[in-house]
């Protein structure tokens, strides 16, 4: 295969960045969900609404 180092660099960087994004998003979701659960246990319960508020 010609230009192998360049091909490896391109595919390697793509793999690293995409795997990094997946790990970061999954970890962030878990951290924020756990933080919210702990706060809700400690403090006032949010109203269980179907309104558009966050």
């Amino acid at each position: 295969m010609t230009h192998l180092p360049f091909i490896l660099a391109a595919y390697g960087a793509s793999a690293l960045v995409l795997i990094g994004l997946i790990v970061w998003v999954v970890a962030d979701t878990r951290i924020q969900k756990r933080r919210l659960n702990e706060l809700e246990k400690a403090g006032p319960r949010r109203r269980r609404s179907t309104t558009q508020g966050l």
Binding site: M1, T2, H3, L4, F6, I7, A9, A10, Y11, A13, S14, V17, L18, G20, L21, I22, W24, V25, V26, D28, T29, Q32, K33, R35, L36, L39, E40, A42, G43, P44, R46, R48, S49, T50, T51, Q52, G53, L54
Partner: protein, 254 residues
């Protein structure tokens, strides 16, 4: 419009996104596997570029997603400013780091493709420079969101900046037609049809679909994380507001 509004309700969004996220993720992984096989094994080397043409299968989808992600953010910015929908800013903010990552990949893979083909890692031509501007805009927007304590105010300012920066998207697309650039002109999305051979077009299309599915999965997951972050912040404020004040009152003057 009513159905979209109903699905965009944050509580309902958390419910339906949890259900479809596994399917989108599996579909993205399968499509990526097929795309990688087609790109690295089944597709032929180019008669001029040799095997370095295989870089195209990761470079072009990353470039398309860099722009598509900004398009999603521009739509979300309209949602923030016109309809004031609470999920619109969540969508824009969740998309920004993903867009920055795809733009970085477009620049990096373009650079390692440019060195063997052009003889240089970088050239200040219109296409490369306008994509670099897009990358800087993503970073600027991320910094802007972090600079504000009040998410509502940050949402409005970021939305205006996103819409102003949208002018860069047609510049990126048409830069190779408007200016004399080292970067080649469009070979897939053209009025007279793709000028690329089908044996190379199909791997490229499959990889583009795979990257789009990866973006959809990442965006949905990042939006869920952002909703949890904002709910946690609201709950923290509620707890702080209910806590008895411990502030020391100034001593009364005698």
């Amino acid at each position: 419009m009513g159905t979209i509004s109903s699905l965009a309700n944050p509580t309902r969004f958390l419910s339906w996104s949890a259900r479809i996220l596994p399917f989108v993720s599996v579909l993205a992984a399968v499509t990526l596997g097929i795309g990688l096989y087609l790109s690295l094994v089944a597709s032929p080397p180019d008669y001029q570029q040799g095997d370095s043409v295989r870089i195209m299968y990761v470079h072009v989808p990353a470039s398309w997603l860099a722009m598509f992600c900004y398009l999603v953010m521009a739509g979300a910015a309209l949602g923030t400013l016109v309809w004031r929908h609470p999920l619109a800013d969540v969508s824009a903010r969740a998309a920004a780091p993903i867009g920055a990552a795809f733009t970085f990949l477009a620049l990096f893979t373009g650079s390692v493709w440019g060195k063997p083909m052009w003889g240089t890692w970088w050239v200040w031509d219109a296409r490369l420079t306008s994509v670099l501007v897009l990358f800087i805009m993503y970073l600027g927007l991320l910094a802007l969101w972090r600079a504000f304590d009040d998410p509502t105010r940050a949402a409005k300012v970021a939305a205006v900046l996103i819409l102003v920066g949208f002018v860069n998207i047609p510049i990126i697309k048409f830069s190779v037609d408007w200016w004399n650039t080292l970067h080649q002109s469009a070979s897939v999305i053209r009025l007279d049809g793709p000028s690329i051979a089908p044996s190379m077009l199909w791997p490229l299309v499959v990889m583009a679909v795979a990257y789009t599915l990866i973006f959809v999965a990442l965006h949905l997951a990042a939006m869920r994380a952002e909703i949890y972050r904002r709910r946690a912040r609201t709950t923290e404020i509620l707890i702080a507001a209910r806590r008895p004040s411990t502030a020391v009152r100034p001593a009364a003057a005698h």
